[in-house]
């Protein structure tokens, strides 16, 4: 895991987490404050990323945007991790009819692509971070479940699980105590790569003007920049750069954890 690219990824993800957690201290101003400076100022020492068409400070917006992005990512990852791990582990460990039913159900969840399902939900219920989290969380688990299931099938054939069963523990106990903890590394890889997808989806929706209006988001900032491309390149460049760095960090981290697991198993 201690490869240069893995460390770079880890560094970027930690930085992202810190900025998201301490946004209020790093950039104390209100990202919606239109009196931060004159409109459309290029980057300067006073306004590191310039100001937008309404005189809002962009650097403040980008810092607070990290909080919005991370809120969505952490909530969605938590929901789908719980559902995906429980369903995948149960399907792989118990097999049989339960396995078939759970996996077929998972396939049905993937019929309507996530991005479009969220678009529909917004069309019917209006934009909002709560429904975004709910829809993405409830529809994103099938892929994780499939990976976890495959891992659970290999794990249940391993000696330590057999030994635990032979010593009289129930199937449920063996599943919770011995199987699930051991498939967590694989789940972490999937969830890391998955977090980068969630950032992209959230940013993409906000870019379409469908983000939560009460929260500053990188995608919203990029969307505001679109009419002013000719006048203010900085309005477009910095929010997008933040998204790209966050996604590169998560992908690098996920890839290197994956490589480390591969090396361990061969």
């Amino acid at each position: 895991m201690a490869t240069p690219s893995g460390l770079l990824g880890l560094g970027l993800v930690v930085l992202l987490g810190l900025v998201a957690l301490f946004a209020k201290w790093i950039a104390p101003g209100d990202p919606f404050d239109t009196s931060a400076g004159p409109a459309l100022l290029p980057p300067s020492r006073r306004h590191l990323m310039g100001t937008d068409n309404l005189g809002r400070d962009l650097a403040t917006g980008v810092v607070h945007g990290a909080t919005t992005s991370m809120t969505v990512v952490v909530a969605v990852v938590a929901i789908s991790a719980v559902i995906g791990i429980v369903i995948g582990a149960a399907a792989g460990f118990y097999g049989g009819v339960l396995d078939v039913v759970l996996m077929r159900t998972g396939e049905l969840f993937q019929v309507v692509p996530r991005f479009f399902l969220v678009l529909l939900v917004i069309a019917f219920f209006g934009p909002g971070i709560d429904r975004l989290i709910l829809v993405l969380g409830l529809t994103s688990w099938p892929f994780l479940a499939r990976v976890v299931r495959a891992e659970a099938i290999t794990l249940k054939r391993r000696d330590f699980v057999g030994a635990s069963l032979a010593l009289g523990s129930s199937g449920g106990r063996a599943l919770v105590v011995h199987v699930i903890p051991n498939l967590l590394p694989v789940a972490v890889v999937v969830l890391t790569l998955f977090a980068s997808r969630i950032i992209m989806i959230e940013a993409g929706l906000a870019f379409l003007g469908l983000g939560d209006q009460n929260r500053i988001s990188w995608g919203t900032l990029a969307s505001n920049a679109q009419p002013f491309l000719q006048l203010a390149w900085w309005m477009a460049v910095f929010p997008g750069l933040a998204i790209a760095l966050a996604v590169v960090g998560l992908n690098l981290l996920g890839d290197s954890v994956n490589d480390a697991l591969d090396r361990r198993s061969t």
């Binding site: 396939e107 049905l108 019929v111 309507v112 692509p113 991005f115 479009f116 399902l117 678009l119 529909l120 939900v121 917004i122 069309a123 019917f124 219920f125 980068s196 992209m200 940013a203 993409g204 870019f207 379409l208 003007g209 469908l210 995608g219 990029a222 969307s223 920049a225 679109q226 491309l229 000719q230 390149w233 477009a236 460049v237 929010p239 997008g240 750069l241 998204i243 790209a244 996604v247 590169v248 992908n251 690098l252 890839d255």
Partner: protein, 321 residues
């Protein structure tokens, strides 16, 4: 490939299509207000509401409502877009060609360049070229489409002035024939490239991994040992085997291409169904949004079937009867 397999494969499509109908039906019924209002919006006139209530059969039991809704969808009757005041299917049909041109070009570009880059990288694993391609694909896969589009507009459109940055053609000029084709191509290059980047990156990575794995196999080393040129080992022996999984992947990317198209069409004001969907959601034009999402979902399902059938045709080892 037997007809029996084809029939069974098509039968598997039924639950997927049923899911689309059920999910959309649930959304209509869960939305605040009664379904007529949910679809037509708060400001719909009494006549529209009455026709919608009849369309959904609100006086009948729920199972009968689902059935009549499903049969309407199956016949392509998706109601009227209340923004355009015309049938949803007509509005979509007008805007579909622009999106097919954009996504088709992007798909072609990504196959050509992605496979080319993957082959270049696999020639010498861990060499400088490989490291370069690997880093580039990681970045290409991580950049959001709208940002790539904005930067492309800033650089190639506004700064260098090489390409037009808005729309599918120059409305002020009245081009005919070949000049018109050239005009559209000039408008197409930036958005299609932007849409293709992440797919190029993905295909390059997969081609590279597949080729490296195949080149380690006994048959590839035998071919090399008997004196075949390395390039020929790749093109005639390793690549055909590495290409098989790629076919499956390309099929599963159709949904991503469409979601990418929504964003890219918004950046470049490309008049396709992606921009139409963005506007439909922003205007609360629910019948149109429903129709578009159902079209995308059905296309994704169809693409998976086509991929499966293609896979069987090109891999002589697979025989389903």
């Amino acid at each position: 490939m037997s007809w029996g397999y084809l029939a069974r494969r098509l039968a598997q499509v039924v639950p997927a299509l049923a899911t689309i109908v059920l999910v959309t039906f649930m959304l209509i019924h869960l939305a605040p207000g009664d379904p007529g209002v949910a679809v037509a919006g708060e400001n719909a006139d009494a006549a529209t509401l009455e026709s919608l209530r009849r369309q959904f059969g609100l006086d009948r039991p729920l199972w009968s409502q689902v059935l009549s809704y499903a049969s309407n969808v199956a016949r392509g009757d998706l109601g009227d877009s209340f923004f355009f005041g015309r049938p949803v299917s007509t509005v979509i049909a007008e805007r579909l060609p622009a999106t097919l041109l954009l996504t088709g070009t992007a798909l072609l570009l990504s196959c050509l360049l992605g496979i080319l880059l993957g082959r270049v990288a696999a020639r010498r694993p861990s060499g400088p070229l490989d490291a370069g391609v690997t880093a580039a694909t990681l970045v290409g896969y991580s950049i959001p489409g709208f940002w790539l589009g904005q930067v492309a507009i800033l650089l190639f459109g506004l700064h260098l002035g090489w390409f037009p940055v808005v729309g599918i053609s120059d409305d002020r000029a009245d081009y005919e024939g070949l000049a018109r084709v050239q005009d559209v191509v000039r408008h197409l290059i930036l958005p299609a490239s932007v849409l293709a980047i992440s797919e190029i990156a993905l295909l390059a990575r997969l081609t590279r991994t597949g080729l490296i794995r195949q080149l380690r196999e006994g048959y590839a080393r035998t071919a090399e040992a008997k004196g075949l040129a390395p390039a020929r080992v790749v093109s005639h022996h390793a690549f055909p085997n590495a290409a098989l999984p790629l076919v499956t992947v390309i099929g599963t990317r159709v949904g991503f291409l469409f979601s990418g198209a929504v964003v890219v069409e918004t950046v470049f004001s490309w008049p396709g169904i992606g921009l139409l969907l963005r506007d439909a959601v922003n205007n609360g034009d629910r019948p149109l949004a429903l129709g578009l999402v159902m079209l995308v979902a059905a296309t994704v399902i169809l693409a998976n079937v086509v991929t499966d059938l293609l896979y069987i045709r090109i891999d002589p080892r697979i025989r389903y009867d």
